[in-house]
Symmetry: C3
Subunit: 244 residues, 3 copies
Amino acid sequence: MAKIGKNVKIGDNTTIYDNVEIGDNTIVCNDCILGEPFNDYYSDMDNYENPPTVIGPNSLIRSHTLIYADNIFGEGLHCGHRATVREKSRFGEHCSIGTLCDIQGYSVFGDYVRMHSNVHIGHFSKIGNYCWIFPYTVFTNDPTPPSEICVGPTVGDYSIVATHCLLLPGVKIGQHCLIGACSMVSKDVPDYQVVVGSPGKVVKDIRSIKDRETGEAHYPWPFRFDRGMPWKGIGYEEWLNQQH
Amino acid sequence: MAKIGKNVKIGDNTTIYDNVEIGDNTIVCNDCILGEPFNDYYSDMDNYENPPTVIGPNSLIRSHTLIYADNIFGEGLHCGHRATVREKSRFGEHCSIGTLCDIQGYSVFGDYVRMHSNVHIGHFSKIGNYCWIFPYTVFTNDPTPPSEICVGPTVGDYSIVATHCLLLPGVKIGQHCLIGACSMVSKDVPDYQVVVGSPGKVVKDIRSIKDRETGEAHYPWPFRFDRGMPWKGIGYEEWLNQQH
Amino acid sequence: MAKIGKNVKIGDNTTIYDNVEIGDNTIVCNDCILGEPFNDYYSDMDNYENPPTVIGPNSLIRSHTLIYADNIFGEGLHCGHRATVREKSRFGEHCSIGTLCDIQGYSVFGDYVRMHSNVHIGHFSKIGNYCWIFPYTVFTNDPTPPSEICVGPTVGDYSIVATHCLLLPGVKIGQHCLIGACSMVSKDVPDYQVVVGSPGKVVKDIRSIKDRETGEAHYPWPFRFDRGMPWKGIGYEEWLNQQH
């Protein structure tokens, strides 16, 4: 049985499997599947028990999205169209998963993780809070394919991975890093570093990137960007102070 | 209310929202959504008014395609499977949008634009007439992500962007250019130039590319290719003369 | 009429067109389309005859997958979600096609070909037995786009093409090769070679790759990996002997 909160809207032709819990005020659009059962369901339907899936309140899940059982999402999830989320990941609050994203599962996401369209996250990835991942970026996990080794990448808080990047298995990216478009990250990246190229190399400190017109620093980005962020209205510095 | 032309065929489980106009002789296959409403629809359904969406006559929209409201397409649109077209773009005649394309919206497309599978077009892109965009190519628009700056790339008439390319925010590609596979375009490209590499560099004039066997020039391509083009049967030169 | 084997399960909202044959014990999940007809069907429905499509026994086809008519699959096909398989390919036994793969058709696949998510295979590709193709890899076929020339790549038995690669038209990759992540293969690759870079260069013999901890050779991979392979339990060497 599913557990549907108050004021939840569910679109046509959406299927919700057993043991799915949907928080209040959530919108699920057309043609979605929530709580997709594991393989055993198809081979032994009579004895299969679907593990719990939790969609937090105030979420918006757009059409054709498919979320497997055994995923837990905090409040304010935003899902684009045709996202695929395989089993056994944990997501913080206010995450966003773009159109055509393919989350392979067994991964951990912090709060306010923003994945744009068509991001591929392999098994055992770890993504911190306030991270941005741009289209066609892939997190890999097998250093010598095919094998039974599986070590996902790690991305620290506030870091940005631009479009068309590839993170090699097990790389660790620090906090407040920027991985430039079309980079292949093959080594660990210390905090505040900018990496470009394939293989990627550290080219500068992110704090040295200035706006060409104003000469002001662009990064760390929370000082100049607040759309959808918890520091909206009060500013990042004030918000940081309030956290302590 | 939707306005459906003569001899239009609409597949099973296809949803057509308010204010969609479909031209004569158009085929819409199974499981499509046309005129998908904006976010406000979900938050305030009673007061929401869907802006107009126009699909020109003689179009073919394949299964699972999703087109948001406030898009205008000229006649002869061809859409592959699972294309996603967000709001507020304008398309000329005889455009083609491949399987899994993700058009983010607020963009302008000329006539006879051919997008192959899995092309991603960010906001505020401008694509001329008779352009070819190949799979996994991405048009980006944010020079310092995340930010509120949004400047899309521009591609001139007859230009070709091959597979797995990335256009950085605001780059301008001239007419009759060829961007080679796996290139990242970071600077403007003058007319008739061939760019390869990451970052991309101009390597030659497109008119110098010869067929290995015949020694004839391959480009400008309209002289030797006419499938689906308006100069079919009469030749590009004669057709050009007729335009004046 | 379709021909459905014994103990076949078919999910909700799945459409099966004329002349599709499904082998015993196969599972087809929700929202799939099998035997999608060619264009002529839409223009002249009365005279259209759908060519045969064969799905072998013991297959699993996950939700939202679309398979055109005139495809033949051997037994044990595994299909992820939202795979698209256009017309006229031939697949051996135990192939696997990942989520969001886009197989353009007119291609030949051996036995035990493993395509991970979001692989794009252009027309006239040839992939041998026991090949692995990783996400966002693209097989191209037009050397001077746009043109009417169409020459697909060839990949030999046991070869591996890692994530985010591009194979240029007509390249031939030998047996037991490894194409590293983010490579663009522009030349033929002899057996047992490792290629990296864009354009890709041969950097070593695959048999020289050792495990850092144990010092043992990782490749040829069949000696140390058997999940889902016909040599499971008996070992690759013994299995090879049995083949003769």
